[in-house]
Every structure is written in C-alpha cells, then in structure tokens.
Symmetry: C2
Subunit: 330 residues, 2 copies
C-alpha cells in the first residue's frame, strides 16, 4: 500500500525529492505540498513532474490563498515531510508544522536542523505519545545515514567517541587553500561562485552549522541534553594560509573537526592538524565521520554532505523506513 | 519488555554476544543455548556470565543429552540467534534450525553465511509467510552495517555499483606483502600465527569467502538470484611479491576487490591494482565498501571485517532492530 506524504518546502531539498519521485516508483503518493507563498492539497495525489513544471513556470507550487499551515493541518497524509529552510534561532515555522502533524497522529520526516537542535526531546515525547515516528536523517552529514546507523544498526554499542567533518563548505575552502595555496578569502570567493557558500557565509565558516549537527548527534543518538552553548566552537574564518602551509610541510593538513566524547562531556568544534592520509582528511565538499565503539571498534563513513538529490536520499530513506516499520514485517 | 533469544553456537561469535550481554543491559534475555555437544533451556533466563564460566570450565554450555535441534524446537524464544559455523556447501545444520524457528513463528538472526548464500529467497519467503524477520547483518563485512544501510537507509536509491574489500585475511596478507616485502607464504604464515587465517586457508585466499559475501549482497539487498558459480573469482594465492613491488613503484598497491555492477550483471572478485591513497586501500584486516548510487552519490564505509565482539555488534544490531520494529513506534 502506498504511503501518503505532504511536502513542506520546495527549495533544493524539496526539488530533489520531487525529482526522485518523478523518476521512480517508490510507492510514495504526494497528497499535499506547500512553499512559502502557496499550497496545494489533492487526496488523489499530485504528479511530481507536473508540480516541478508548475513551480518552474510560475514560481508557485499551488494556490496562493493556501498557506503551508493549512496544508499541514488539512491534507490527508501519513507522513509530513518538512524540508523548509532552517531557522537555527527560533526553529520556526518548522517546529509549529511538526507539532501540528504529530498532534494529528502523523509521522514526521524533516531535513530541518532548527526544530531538532532546539526542541528534540519535547518533539520526541510528543511523537511517542502519539505512537508515531519522528525522523531527521538529512539534518546531519547529508547522504551519509549516520543517525540510522548509530541509532539502530549499532544499537548494541556504547559510543566512546565521534569525530567528523560535518560542513562541506568549510572542507571545500580548506581543501582549496591546501591544494592551490589560495588565501582564505580567495577560497571562500570560489566556494561562493560554485554555490557551496551563501552570500553571507558566517553560519558555515564560524562553525555554527557544524556545531548544530554536533548538538543533534549528541541529543538524539547519544541521548544527551545539550545546546549550542555547550559546544566549544572555533571556526575557520581566522585561519591563515601560513598555518595550512606549515601543516602541509609536515605531511599534514588542517580540517574543521567536530568531536564528541560522551563520557567526558566533551563537545568541540575546531580546526585541527591531521596527517594527510588520515581517514578524517576527505577532499572538497565531502563529509566524514569516525565512530569509536566498544564492540564494533572504529567505523568510518564518508560521502556527500549536501546537495539536492543527496539530501533527498536521506529523506526518502526515512520515509521508506517508516513505511516498512508500520507495514509490519520483513 | 525484554526480548527472548535462543543462541545456537558458542564459538567466537557466540562468546562475543554472551560477553556483551554479560557487560550491559540491552533488554535481551537468553532462554536457550546450544553448542555442538550440549544444550540448555531455561524459561526464566540463563545468566550470560554463568554460561561463559561453565563453557570455559567444562567445554559444554549445558546438558549433553540436549541437542541444538531440541533447543531450537522447544525453547521459549522470540528470536533464534544462529551463529554456528558456516558450511558453505550444504548450509546445514544451520538452515534446518532456521526453518524450524520460522515454522514456529519466531524471528531469526544469523551470522551464518551458508544458509543465506544458498537459500535466501526460500527462507525469506518462509519468514514473510510467518510474518517474522530474517536478518543477517553479520554475514557481510563484520562490524560494518552494510546490509542495514543498503536495505533500509539507502532504500530510495538505485545501486549502480558496489566495490569492496570483504575478506580481512586476504587484506592482511596483501598489506604485509606491500609493507614489509614479505612473500605470499611468509605473510600467510604470519596471518596464521596471529589467528587471522585458518590452518587450511583455502577458503579465504582462493576468494571463496569474499565471493560468498558478494552472493549475499547480490541476492538480498540487490534482489538478484545468483550463486557462487555466477561470480568470476580470482584469489590471491598465485600473487607474487614481484607484482606487488611493481604496483608499489607506481604509487599503487594490490587489493582483492569484490565488484558488483547490477545493470551489467557483473559479479567479479579479483586482485586489482589500486592507487595507494584510494579509499579502497585499507590496511590490515579491515574491510571497506564503496557504494555508487543514483541519489546519494558515492558512499564509503570501513571498519573491522571480523572478530568476536565486532561480529556480535552486528548480531545485536539485528536483534535490537527486530525488537524495536515489533514493539512498534519510535
């Protein structure tokens, strides 16, 4: 039986999901959609390719009189797929949408870091009370299914430490500074030109984005209760090309590394000197995570940390996991 | 509510599971156990540390008049945990145990490659008919949860190609030949001394073990129907130190690589020359898998491919996934 979803957000992630749904039959039916200016509800299903075409031609996904909140409140769906832009300060309006869906007894999948970093434990409680799932694989490390892996596959393990490159923009800048001897400013300009960095790159280069991902990892799969204030954060914006050159002279390089050591309550994000061929040294906009466990030893996971289809992959994995779980069996 | 398991097999994997269960409370109760010469059934639960002690002192896990089949047939369990040694030719007696458990309406978790490589589709059908789970994460790549990842987390993706180092013994031998200039025979002797290789290493060095893992990957998460005969296999037993030296001179090395390209029906295991710092070049007894997907791009997973606790990690992940799934929610 197909699973019905309502999609809130038709930016890069939303478009990636619609593209995947238009290209293959995953047993997912879209019964509602909304962007920041319009919405659509159709119980019989919205055709993803038609929607992509409409959005491209008109800039709208539906009727301007229909607000996202109306879609969340009224569309007939099993899973709310919330992929609107992250507001890391308030978590809104996404948190409100998620609460509405949970209160309707619907599952929620989100790629939105705000609600998860700010309100995870309350939202999880609301989901548990409603007997539904809340999943958010896409919030950390893009295409790498790290939350699924830590929370389920490695469920028998105690996590001793976790190290990771969690921001592709910073990793791209550091890679280019090392490879080409570019200055920080030159590498940042290049990242902007290629679309890896926003016009205002503060959120990435000061380490806020990566630190939010550490908060999510800590609070969800490691069952802590921390906030951004508990993380010792140093960004890459003050890093000189001289520092990178010195590292390179010693067959090493510099990467922005997030680190969690649960038993020491250590949460840190900082540029670190790493031997050049260490598993943490990935190139360009890749992400990588090393997990140190008591039973499984060290495991390394790497892959694309961002991108439209890559993030869609994580969202779809969550949707299909919920469908399979509640269908029972296998 | 705790989940009840019966454990068949108290070799390295079984001992790893018992050790983990004796050290932490995972909500798992052991109600039956058997080795090749004895068995025990206790509805109120067997204490894992007591069992490890008894096994060490007497060589037996229970009553010599109780056979494994009696335990499988009569113990009160939710999940049969079948970790007896692999017989890659017949799949027995493990396949019989698994069928008995499924016919009782019990879930099955196994680390045994024989039944999965030889009879996956029939066993899966029997599990589906009974409305229960059949899981076998430990059969491929040890501690790396590759089956869980491909089958669930990446469920929205089409797998375009899969490349991997799937046999730690061969990888250890190749690493030592390259690092120390050892001959194949010297490196094999060293692997034997360290317990990485069996007295008869044929199964590993001729590539049979890694090829069986390719069969399992193909037939389960890639939904193919192949057997060992469909795999083009070349082992490492004829590899000379000269070949490795020549590769090293070109900043490359040799690894035994398994390869699956589903759309070409290509299944191959062979020693390949790989650039020295390529992600497929892992050291010692590690395993690594690269998955090429349509949405998520390339993902790399590496970790320990064998070991008592490492394999136990995979088995426990399966047990806990079944428990969480059938408990409903989250």
């Amino acid at each position: 039986m197909p699973v019905r979803i309502a999609l809130i957000g038709t930016g890069a992630v939303g478009k990636g999901i619609l593209k995947a749904l238009s290209e293959k039959d995953l047993g997912i039916v879209l019964t509602g959609v909304a962007d920041s200016r319009s919405g659509d509800i159709r119980g019989e299903g919205i055709v993803p390719s038609d929607l992509l075409k409409r959005k491209k031609e008109t800039g709208l996904c539906g009727d301007p009189s229909l607000h996202a909140q109306d879609v969340v409140q009224n569309a007939p769906y099993d899973i709310l797929v919330e992929v609107s832009p992250t507001d890391a300060t308030t978590g809104e309006p996404a948190t409100g949408y998620i609460r509405t869906a949970l209160s309707r007894g619907c599952h929620v999948v989100t790629s939105n870091k705000g609600p998860v970093a700010l309100h995870y434990h309350e939202l999880k409680q609301e989901a548990d009370n409603a007997g539904v799932s809340l999943r958010f694989e896409a919030t950390v490390a893009g295409a790498i299914p790290i939350l699924h892996t830590l929370g389920e596959s490695l469920g028998g393990n105690t996590i001793k430490a976790l190290y990771g490159v969690l921001n592709g923009t910073c990793n791209y800048i550091l890679t280019r500074m090392a490879e080409e001897g570019l200055s920080y400013k030159q590498a940042l300009d290049e990242a902007r030109t290629l679309g890896y960095a926003e016009a205002d790159p503060t959120y990435d280069v000061k380490g806020i984005d990566a630190a939010i991902k550490l908060v999510i990892l800590a609070n969800t799969v490691l069952n802590r209760r921390i906030s951004l204030d508990d993380i010792d954060i140093t960004g890459i914006d003050l890093l000189t090309e001289e520092a990178i050159r010195l590292a390179e002279e010693q067959d090493a390089t510099i990467r922005l590394i997030g680190e969690i050591i649960p038993e020491k309550n250590l949460y840190r994000l900082s540029p670190r000197i790493i031997p050049r061929y260490h598993p943490l040294v990935v190139q360009g906009s890749l992400n990588v995570i090393i997990v140190r466990t008591d039973l499984a030893g060290d495991l390394v996971f790497s892959g694309k940390g961002a991108g439209s289809l890559e993030t869609a992959s994580a969202v779809l994995g969550d949707i299909l996991s919920i469908r399979d779980r509640y269908a029972g069996g296998n």
